[in-house]
């Protein structure tokens, strides 16, 4: 079970609390976690990654285990602490603009 932390507006959009959990089959990567998140919460599709390019939206960041994974290749394996559920995978809305 992977723990995913969501920023304020995405929590409201999906009608969930700060943290949700998703099941990931196969390798646990940024891509597979986001895929699983979008399957469980369809309204989030396109809000974290662009619909067409699947690139991370510029003002969102991905953190886990005190590391910034935002610019890592999407198929990079996440750490064992995220896989085991000890640490969350955090989607952060950058402090930018008004």
């Amino acid at each position: 079970m992977i723990r995913v932390e969501l920023p304020f507006h995405l929590r409201n959009l999906a009608h969930v609390e700060r943290e949700v959990t998703v099941e990931v089959e196969g390798p646990v990567t940024v891509r597979s976690v986001l895929d699983a998140l979008e399957v469980r919460y369809p309204v989030l599709a396109g809000t974290i990654r662009d619909h067409g390019t699947q690139k991370r939206r510029p003002f969102l960041r991905f953190y886990a285990c005190e590391e910034d994974l935002s610019n890592e290749p999407p198929d990079t394996l996440l750490s064992e602490d995220v896989v085991s559920g000890k640490e969350p995978f955090s989607i952060i809305a950058a402090i930018a603009g008004g």
């Binding site: 507006h9 959009l13 979008e38 369809p42 309204v43 809000t47 662009d50 950058a94």
Partner: protein, 386 residues
């Protein structure tokens, strides 16, 4: 007894203002989608309880919301926030993907630049079917849903109308106006910032620029240019779809032949720069604009907020000032932030970047603020509920 419902989009959420036909006492609900930019909210004329909203942010992109109960509850079409019971693919209702090869348009440095979807500026429900809606987007293109907003498909022929020559202005290359001809379902007019007006006569299969006669001073060196016109807004009266009115970047214009040609009707306006233009519900020759001092100073001339009305379809204008601030006023009124109701004494409404929504229940003679302290107003639409 008739009621009026005013749908207000702001930089930080949507608000719904309701009153009875006297339009004196107002109830305010909202913010809906607090913290999000709501570029536009509009209801279906066929089913007034069916509303569509464009919700977007620089962080999270585009969301389409739909209400089936007049704005009491909202959901993204196609399955709600957590499930997709009708089997819709994930997030389809938020998905605006250009049709075919994405193509390129003119960029600031003279090179070609790929089209990039940014947001939905304007939603125009069909005049005959509550499930069909047109969406004008940035970068400029026209999309349509025929399933109540679950899926959107581009009418891509529009971008063949010299789209390679369209170039964004400072406000973005947005398709902001969609006029559906009530007498001819195959005829649609759209207007695009810094590109111009385009018309289809075959339901969107082909499009032509409709800009002949527009003044090009300060805009384009080539006086024969069909595209590159900074059109801010166009309007028509449903009884007279061949007559169009335009607030251009500079100049107010009129067409009497369905956009085939235009002539200037700025007349005695104190400034012919501005954004919105609208037509009285019962007097097709009565039109309204809000002059703004200049494109370098986006506030009213002499710091006086004045709506100007022409009862002659342009050229001769009178200022409407009663109830509007006549000193120290530095707000702007954006292109989609004016609307009219269709009660017997036509109501006129507009919202400002200072967060006020003003209403006149007597065709513009007298004004009152409905609300004074909303976030900057991006759009105003009105529904007359019988």
């Amino acid at each position: 007894m008739s009621n009026v419902r005013v749908l207000v989009g702001t930089k930080k959420g949507a608000f719904i203002l309701t009153a009875d036909g006297k339009r004196e006492k107002w109830e305010v609900s909202g913010p809906h989608f607090g913290g999000w930019e709501i570029y536009h909210v509009k209801g279906s004329s066929v089913d007034p309880n069916r509303l569509y909203a464009s919700q977007s942010s620089g962080w999270f992109g585009q969301i389409i919301q739909r209400s089936d109960d007049g704005g009491k509850t909202w959901n993204p079409p196609g399955g709600g926030p957590t499930a997709s019971p009708d089997g819709m693919p994930k997030g389809e209702s938020n998905k605006f993907v250009y049709e075919g090869a994405v193509g390129t348009h003119l960029w600031y440095d003279g090179t070609q630049h790929p089209w990039e979807f940014k947001r939905v500026w304007h939603l125009e429900p069909s005049l005959t079917d509550p499930n069909t809606v047109y969406a004008g987007v940035e970068d400029a293109a026209l999309f349509r849903t025929t399933d109540g907003g679950k899926t959107w498909h581009e009418l891509s022929a529009l971008r063949s109308a010299k789209g390679n020559l369209w170039q964004p202005g400072a406000g973005g290359m947005g398709l902001h106006t969609i006029l559906l001809d009530p007498k001819n379902p195959d005829r649609i007019f759209v207007a695009i910032s810094a590109a111009g007006v385009f018309r289809t006569e075959d339901g969107g299969k082909s499009w032509k620029p409709a800009t002949r006669g527009l003044n090009l001073t300060y805009e384009l060196p080539d006086k024969s240019s069909e595209v590159g016109h900074c059109v801010h807004r166009i309007a028509m009266h449903p009884s007279r779809p061949n007559v169009l009115f335009m607030q251009k970047h500079w100049d107010v214009n009129r067409s009497d032949d369905g956009g085939e040609s235009w002539h200037e009707v700025s007349g005695n306006l104190p400034s012919d720069f501005g954004f919105p233009i609208d037509v009285h519900a019962h007097e097709p020759n009565t039109i309204y604009v809000v002059p703004i001092k200049s494109d370098a100073e986006h506030y009213p001339p002499d710091a006086k907020l004045r709506v100007y009305r022409s009862r002659t379809g342009g050229d001769e204008w009178e200022p409407l000032t009663k109830g509007l601030p006549q000193s120290d006023c530095y707000v702007n009124i954006l292109r989609d932030a004016m609307a009219v109701d269709s009660l017997d004494t036509c109501g006129i409404y507009f919202g400002t970047t200072g967060g006020q929504v003003y209403a006149s229940a007597d065709s513009g003679d007298n004004w009152k603020p409905i609300v004074r302290d909303l976030p900057p107003v991006l759009s105003v639409e009105v529904q007359t509920l019988l």
